[in-house]
Symmetry: D3
Subunit: 197 residues, 6 copies
Amino acid sequence: MSKREEAHLLNFIAEAGMLKRVKRSGWWVLGIKNSETVADHSFRCVVIGYIIAKMEKVEPYKVLLMTLFNDIPEARLNDLHKMSQRYIKLHEAEDKVFKEQISRLSKGIKGELAAMHQEYRRGVSSESIIARDADILECLIQAKEYEEHGFKEAFRFMKKAPKFLRTKSAKKLWNTAKKAIFVFSVYFNSSSFINIG
Amino acid sequence: MSKREEAHLLNFIAEAGMLKRVKRSGWWVLGIKNSETVADHSFRCVVIGYIIAKMEKVEPYKVLLMTLFNDIPEARLNDLHKMSQRYIKLHEAEDKVFKEQISRLSKGIKGELAAMHQEYRRGVSSESIIARDADILECLIQAKEYEEHGFKEAFRFMKKAPKFLRTKSAKKLWNTAKKAIFVFSVYFNSSSFINIG
Amino acid sequence: MSKREEAHLLNFIAEAGMLKRVKRSGWWVLGIKNSETVADHSFRCVVIGYIIAKMEKVEPYKVLLMTLFNDIPEARLNDLHKMSQRYIKLHEAEDKVFKEQISRLSKGIKGELAAMHQEYRRGVSSESIIARDADILECLIQAKEYEEHGFKEAFRFMKKAPKFLRTKSAKKLWNTAKKAIFVFSVYFNSSSFINIG
Amino acid sequence: MSKREEAHLLNFIAEAGMLKRVKRSGWWVLGIKNSETVADHSFRCVVIGYIIAKMEKVEPYKVLLMTLFNDIPEARLNDLHKMSQRYIKLHEAEDKVFKEQISRLSKGIKGELAAMHQEYRRGVSSESIIARDADILECLIQAKEYEEHGFKEAFRFMKKAPKFLRTKSAKKLWNTAKKAIFVFSVYFNSSSFINIG
Amino acid sequence: MSKREEAHLLNFIAEAGMLKRVKRSGWWVLGIKNSETVADHSFRCVVIGYIIAKMEKVEPYKVLLMTLFNDIPEARLNDLHKMSQRYIKLHEAEDKVFKEQISRLSKGIKGELAAMHQEYRRGVSSESIIARDADILECLIQAKEYEEHGFKEAFRFMKKAPKFLRTKSAKKLWNTAKKAIFVFSVYFNSSSFINIG
Amino acid sequence: MSKREEAHLLNFIAEAGMLKRVKRSGWWVLGIKNSETVADHSFRCVVIGYIIAKMEKVEPYKVLLMTLFNDIPEARLNDLHKMSQRYIKLHEAEDKVFKEQISRLSKGIKGELAAMHQEYRRGVSSESIIARDADILECLIQAKEYEEHGFKEAFRFMKKAPKFLRTKSAKKLWNTAKKAIFVFSVYFNSSSFINIG
């Protein structure tokens, strides 16, 4: 691998590092100043993607990649929340960025990521449906948690989101989650973590 | 004024309030996590706009409005830094937002703000040139300050910006500012605030 | 304009920059750690001042200046909340600071700002009454927003403030605001931003 | 899947959510107050793990899982930096936590994660060596970035870490990274992101 | 005193300084991101220790030392919340650290601190019981305050803690505190600070 | 002790709690946004006060009280940095506040704290000189640490402060501290914590 190829891989790592600074802006709309980063969100998306894939008996590999790189264009675009998408064609912009982001990566990586991105965008394969559900579920659970932290409107803020869940597993998880309390119960020596009443 | 008209004015105030939460994302690129808000930036833009207008012997009123409302579309768009503008047509998006933001305001306000926005966009009048210079100068001085706070690359980050200054007054202020040290000298009983060597 | 005069203008810009770091301390009393800056607050004061001036059919220019520079002494004094004013003569200290802050600015600016400050302090002219109302209304709306963000005592904290509003327009805006919910409704495709029930 | 099994999966998701709040404490030692979260770090570890796996021609799947769940015990243990490990047997504590964290998950997930954790702990397989290198490289690059952000001692702080890198690919990436500057060059229309001189 | 002895005292001061950066991690479990530091907590522990000692008619000196240095091992261990103590023997680790922290201090200091630490650990003397109560009461009052700041589960989070209070004075203070509202009433010209209904 | 007396003690504890939110504003002047709290500072002042007292062979008890309560008036006054003291008579305001803060506390506490405050203000006794030195030394060491964290002007900012140190011990500690590097050396298995070259 040439010096130049390594530099392009480092560039890509630096873009992932940028996501450790980009704040999730949708929560600002709700009044949450000190919101988590895009990297924070992506991390849990991958975890949730893995779990749903397992529940749905789908090989997790592609789901992991989709959830991992889904928001990498935000390193160049900043986080564009729902409201901004009334004015900006998000998918178009993201596609342009992603293409540039991977354009100089070594062939094996570039090919795999390009195919994965396209499959995700089409939203037809099980993997892409699961990855999308993981993204929505992460937001919903985060909203639930923020509601416990005092942001009273968090629930209303997300009220349409559950309708977009498509897998049976994600729907079931959300049905349980929405009634749970997310203060760690293990703290109180109970047998389960969250409190599901 | 009807209840409805009042509500639209409150909406507008709520949008200005959103800017107290939207973080200036350009500094994230530079590595500054805890960057100031758009409202923070806009505040000093108005101050600088007022000063340049006075120096240039131009009536400040329109400059004040231009600098005050210049970034109000970011309440709906989030802050789009230079890099994102490779992929998104910022002015087009901003124009669409601003039009919507003022569309239901009472006539007197709507008319004045629409005219002001157009004049700023054209960039021909003295007022619009000063307002633009105030925006650039605010960023340049902030970069200078961040450099003093340890962000070594801040200067390089902004190296092209000074070329876009157009008024004599803004250029002169920058020439002095770039050599100054922004720790408050009054602290040490000196006669001036900043230290200009 | 001499080098020295420019330096004094830069000093003044550096003081405005300080307000991007000074935190509004009244909210700390209420328990809000991560409160907004004085610059954040001043920014929305100018916006609200502009709106009330328009509603009251008063030329906004002086209102803009009054709201813009009202808190500039806090660059040297820190933010002195209501409780501290039991022990410190705030107006006296502010007047001393403001006089020093503008003392070396070029004549045109110094004269205008001195006159504006005096008029604001007297509180007789329509402009000064509007500027004061803008300051109060900004705090009230912010308290309303913080209450939505979980700070249950925010309302009680501000209960005396509405009595100090003097213009009809500010009173009407507050009457609508206090019943509204400030989560952006546009997010949910409704026709207005805030939700006024 | 029973209600109870779902609740245990939600528990696990809540633990991943905890990592969005746990701060990386090693950087505090260096003086960085506002350090990133464990989730931030883990996110980029997965990205780097993927890249090294590809460079080393190893199937990435297990590397993805190892880097993703490597720090999940910190949801219950807090982040234990190098110095604390003089006094606490970190691996022993982590193993105990991880065992509990997965003990009630559905069989398929539990089995896979247990095997993956053991393989990582043994550190013999290519996948485990790559995952470990990804963890080290993420820290090294972050230190490099923090050094650009003013923390002068960041380099010295990490001086021993490069010696622990084992794959050729990770070593090469670090050799390039340590000379690079991580301010995004794309900002200045250059052809590559980071500046490698 | 030799250069070397001074350096060891400085080391100890640097460790105390580390506590200004270490965040209290128990609150993260509850959802509070921006929690106070260990130094913040220790400061109020000393204040409360002083008050309880006075109420209990016990000489405060040893209580002051116990509350002041109680958490100094966290400079090396990070803050280990309740949940982590299921997996880590906290006291054992703390004792090891404390021993090292004071091992090279000059004799007078080392002797006094070692004796004080042992007495605190035994928990038999009045002073050690008061110091422990001060620690618990600080947490309980902080939880009460966080509850007012929107964290609804704060009370449930601490429900077992009051049972561990042992002095009559601490119990009485908590009985009053748990019904109070901690917004400063002096703000409203009332005769007492907190509102006890 | 009556219900009312307890309430006043709780008030006092609530005031100490306020210091966990009040930010040290002097550092804002220097450009440090995310500065420590007054409680953070006071905590280390007590630690340093204890050390200097021991070095100077003075009974530490009164020094502990002086350093512990020195900044408690800032709960009502906010933190008034050096610059603000050009315009506000700090000692006068502090004395007024402190008198009120302790006025309703039970006799034993009130008497002791009043005497301690007076002795500190007079600045004649060894204890008061040591307490003052502890306050200065805490700031100087913090400035040294901030300088390591990138704030280049930190040293210049504090250049006059060392002249005000009066005890031999504080002077010696500062002479060693100013040449040290405060990154924890124990991290690298060295025998001392800070690096004194």
